[in-house]
Symmetry: C2
Subunit: 709 residues, 2 copies
């Protein structure tokens, strides 16, 4: 028999003061929901509808209700919860043997209860946890029927009939193996367990264990990105918890250096103000406040006793009514939480950690801190975006340099039934929709996923020190036809006299023939000031291009800035931001907005600025983004609405790149890049009579000046 999770203090109701507040309120929520379901009567409809439809939603409600009722039974011993789970499963025992392929099949991976096998696996993961809580208390006949006609059949369907999905190295397979493996534990069926752990062939080339080895990088990064990582964490953590109880000798949580706990931590780190960095096809409103992470944090805490996870639980304000959730709630109530530290970190991508990386640099703590994110990761499978070396900036609770995320309105029938919108392909995935370099108005890898899957950036350098954080990465395979290699340094640079670090961006591109380079910046805010004087399209608004996302850009104007005109200031949420760039000779600047060629109003309308250099085989783009000042309409106070930077210069000399930043107060800093990864190597160059010395790949060299030197 399965080693069920067991409460150390069962038989108490939610109102009993013995439960800590967080757990009690979670129990009350569960009781309210389950009691409503009991009152409504059990409804197990014959599968008919696709996602969002009635039967789909009913079967989802059912597994959620069984899962909660089972745990309430464990907690309270109340017979009616047992009866609810049993009676519902008996209904499923009637239904399940009658099912073939779901009538609303959408693709290869057809389910039985649902239109796709993924949902069947999710049903299984929840239902089998419910069954575990009641099975020992059922009479033999009921137990036999449910064993045979529900769980054995469902396990057979998931692992044999749907073998192709089951043996994938993919999160859909994680759900399937978790469901089948936990059914194996509950039914005492070692064959199911073995299949789940090591794949159908039993050789460990597939199955759950292999998934933990291949789906995460050594740093715990999941290649599809944080939005999908969140979703994948539930079956990983729940099944691992079951393995730990039933097969403790496997030491699943220690496997691969504790990869599952690393992955949980990475999931949490890949957020700003609780919201996941919206890489790839991400729904932007997804935050740590999500059912998958209530479960993940509770199990993670039960494994690690990491008091920082209690801080996350406190921010979530939610938990799960499992023994792990209770244990965690008690620790939280006992005031054992310690602040979770959101840190500057590098997350390698790929099973061996050599398929690029995501670099996160942070300055400050708390909801107002500044964070800079470099997306140097690999394509991330079918939901991946063509966004190599793209970046984002967050400040004061807002996303300042944006990633569009997915073009999708979940479950809104009028928006293509809630599925991905056509503009997800034509805009959201395209390179120009990102803060990434575009060559000849084509997306990276020409928008071909198969090509994109074969290559990724190289993270050259990552370093965090006081006053200077830096990430450098490159890729030479994004435009094979044009032979373009590109390298990008993104850094957070403290400047004496400025309240926050500057976000520095140095991007170099070299091709084998003359091309057009476009470097877009997708920003948030209302333009306050332009350093250049654009020709404006004020009485008719044309479209920038024909394809690859360009067809979605309205052109507001363009300019060819003089050297000292390369800046623009915008206002967002009471803060000013100045984007300052070095205009190379002939560089055109285009001001635009998303939303053209959008017949169904599917796109958000958001501004962007493009630096364009044409007819050249190489280009350097050097820019800084400065957060400054304050606009408070309530008190009618405006301070620092103008940039504090006097000048930005870029010098390339002896293979080095040097960026000179001078403030109005006269402080001068140079960021020197050697592109040489030897940390001990000493570099020196003389620019306009000034000798600049530094060590290693990149350095911040203060040149002094200003009032206080």
């Amino acid at each position: 028999p399965a080693a069920a999770q067991e409460f150390d203090a069962a038989g108490q109701s939610a109102s009993a003061m013995a439960y800590p507040q967080l757990f009690a309120s979670e129990m009350a929520l569960a009781e309210e929901f389950v009691n409503g379901m009991i009152a409504a009567g059990i409804t197990v409809p014959v599968p008919a509808d696709p996602g969002g439809g009635y039967t789909h939603e009913q079967h989802k409600r059912n597994y959620r209700a069984m899962y909660l009722a089972g745990h309430l039974y464990q907690l309270t011993g109340e017979e009616r919860y047992l009866a609810f789970v049993r009676d519902m499963l008996l209904e499923y025992a009637d239904l399940y043997p009658t099912l073939g392929d779901h009538p609303a099949r959408a693709n290869q991976n057809v389910g039985r209860l649902f239109w796709q096998v993924l949902n069947d696996a999710m049903w299984m993961v929840h239902a089998v946890q419910a069954y575990e809580t009641v099975r020992d208390d059922l009479d033999t006949a009921d137990r036999q029927r449910i064993d045979d006609d529900v769980f054995r059949r469902a396990a057979e369907f998931l692992s044999v009939d749907s073998e192709a999905t089951f043996n994938l190295i993919h999160n859909h397979a994680t759900w399937a193996t978790a469901g089948v493996g936990m059914a194996g534990y509950v039914l005492g069926d070692d064959d199911l367990v073995h299949r789940a752990l090591y794949g159908s062939a039993g050789d460990g080339e597939a199955g759950f264990v292999r998934q933990t080895e291949l789906l995460f990088s050594p740093d715990g990064y999941y290649t599809e990105g944080p939005y999908y990582q969140r979703f994948a964490m539930l079956p990983f953590m729940v099944f691992a918890g079951a393995i730990q109880r039933n097969d403790p000798a496997l030491r699943i949580f220690e496997h691969r250096g504790g990869i599952l706990v690393k992955a949980l931590n990475a999931t949490i780190q890949l957020t700003y103000d609780g919201y996941f960095f919206p890489f790839n096809d991400a729904i932007r409103d997804k935050s740590l406040n999500t059912a998958e992470l209530y479960e993940g944090v509770a199990i993670g805490y039960s494994v690690t006793r990491d008091p920082a996870l209690l801080d996350i639980a406190r921010q979530q304000g939610r938990t799960v009514i499992t023994p792990a959730g209770l244990e965690m709630s008690r620790a939280l109530a006992a005031d054992e939480a310690e602040p979770f530290q959101f840190r500057s970190m590098l997350f390698s991508d790929g099973p061996d950690g050599d398929q690029g990386a995501v670099a996160v640099m942070r300055s400050g703590q708390g909801p107002m801190h500044m964070a800079m994110v470099a997306k140097n990761a690999s394509q991330g499978m079918g939901h991946g975006h063509f966004d190599k070396l793209s970046w984002q900036l967050y400040d004061r609770g807002n996303e300042i340099v944006r990633d569009y995320g997915a073009a999708r309105f979940l479950n809104i029938e009028a928006k293509e039934g809630g599925r991905y919108l056509p503009e997800n392909e034509t805009w959201a995935k395209q390179t120009i929709a990102h803060n990434a370099l575009v060559v000849n108005e084509q997306s990276h890898f020409y928008g071909v996923r198969d090509l994109a899957d074969t290559a990724w950036p190289t993270q050259h350098y990552f370093n965090v020190e006081d006053g200077f954080q830096v990430s450098a990465a490159g890729i030479d395979s994004a435009y094979p036809n044009e032979g373009v290699s590109m390298t990008r340094v993104l850094a957070m640079v403290d400047i004496e006299g400025l309240s926050q670090p500057l976000a520095l961006d140095v991007l170099r591109a070299q091709g084998t023939s003359e091309v057009q380079f476009d470097l877009p910046l997708h920003y948030s805010g209302h333009i306050m000031r332009l350093g250049f004087d654009p020709v404006r399209n004020i009485a008719g608004r044309p479209v920038l291009g024909a394809d690859n996302g360009y067809q979605h850009i309205w052109v507001d104007g363009s300019a060819t800035p003089a050297p000292d005109q390369g800046f623009m200031t915008w206002l967002l949420d009471g803060r000013f931001y100045t984007y300052r760039f070095v205009p190379s000779a002939g560089m055109e600047v285009i001001l635009g907005e998303s939303g053209a060629n959008d017949p169904d109003f599917n796109l958000r309308r958001e501004p962007l600025v493009i630096q364009r250099v044409s007819g050249t085989d190489s280009a350097s783009f050097v820019s800084v983004l400065e957060s400054h000042g304050l606009y408070d309409g309530a008190t009618e106070q405006t301070i620092g609405s103008n940039s504090q930077i006097a000048s930005l210069h870029h010098v390339r000399s002896h293979g080095y790149d040097l960026v000179f930043i001078e403030t109005l107060a006269g402080q001068e800093v140079v960021v020197a890049i050697s592109w040489d990864n030897d940390p001990a190597a000493q570099h020196s160059v003389t620019i306009e009579g000034r000798e600049i010395n530094w060590r290693g790949y990149a350095a911040r060299v203060p040149l002094g000046g200003g009032d206080d030197t």
Copy 2:
């Protein structure tokens, strides 16, 4: 000598536990600011700069610092606060006699210390309060110098040299009379007091008392609108407080039925979630959290002891360090607050209450409640907008049907020095920028203020009852050349089965010749669904018109909806809104966005929809706005994304207007309008065999249907 406000427990520092928390923290803020000013040393520069410039800001800081230091002296008895006020006033005594007209004069009303006399009056109001706290403790020589060379001269300047401003019936004159009158009390100069109370001529045709009679309507509405009302309340309340202490026999707070307290309450009522309805040239981020209202609420409480004002103070979280502020803070600490009730109310406009009105209808309480606002007021002087019969809707903390407010970025130098932008005239003031009827693409009164000043809407009806709130108003003078009269009924209508009332809008217009009628709706949100199929401008975006605001509208598309196609649904902040209208024959619907012909990016880009009827001398526009459903990306839950309304019909019969609303569940309600203000009059009409009976101007008549009838 003046009857100064006196603390009943002086000599305590901010840290003393004797002060209630709100007051203590306010004192700490004041100490921090004043100590900083003391440490920086007294700086009284020769006036040079206009608004926002250095000398302007320094003189503002000075009067604020003196005001706070004086009250800190009262509270703590600390000599250094006295010294600071004295020494600064002595500096002003050196400066003031040397001053002539300010060099940066902007208009007729030039100041001495500031570029406009208004700022000099504000300086006076604050400085004289500071002086009052220290004057008795000064030696004779200092007192004499400050009396003569500062306050007598400043009073002379404000009341004699600037007599034209002083005798206006205008808030600028309120500041001036308040400053001069309080100086009179402090200096013991009855002549100054009399001049302030009754005007230069002393006949009461001007002066403060007359201002209380003419600047507010009998309901306490200030004709320029809530944004300006907030600003005007400070001198009204502060000077009235001084009058009450020095001339209690005047019973100033009882004058005109307690108009000042009514005005304070009106100021608070004219908000949603603390933000003022942004009528006229309003800065949208102005809320109850503003210095003027900290002062106003404290004085209001000291006069009324109204426990609901304590609730406002609690929401503000701020107060003033005056005796009134202390008294109020104590009552708050003693838990005497009662909830401030935001209510459905009619606020008449004009000194006699017969120049139109503002109607506010609310459903529910708290930050998520729904509020509908009908702007049927008069022009409101120079900052008024051409927005007769316009309306707004708020729901769930958001402005759903919008008023643009002013086109201005306060104190942002790059935006025209922080002054009103050109687009304030060309867009924000124009009728098409409002939810108001436009004839022949011209603004009301052809955009001529002098014409607008002579006429106003008539509020025909206002009634609040369970399930039905209604406002009706009309105006026949907005388009004298076309002889157009228009009447608008705005109502909140409960419908069985819907979670919130519908916002109903019935607008009838009749002219003397064929014209074009445009009815815009400025909404907030992202389009989810259109009932009609527009011809879309997706590859080039034209401009709607040439002038009167039309030049600022990009056209996204247009359609001629069939009778059942008149609706659109948008999503805002997790809630769906469906705007449903009755398309009359040939009605064109135009979808657009603000932002065209905006060379300096001064405008916000916000969507609007226009119902257009052409070549007719009359038109009826009937629409409902429905708040429904829920979109929660975090939990991936979407419910009720489609409107619950099955149909909307309008029937005109025997001079009656009837609006039939039927829900998908089959519930039917008719809103019947007789246009007859006799509440006892019985009306009856038979439509499609159904007899509909009601009494009075307008009624909600349930016709039943649906599941539960």
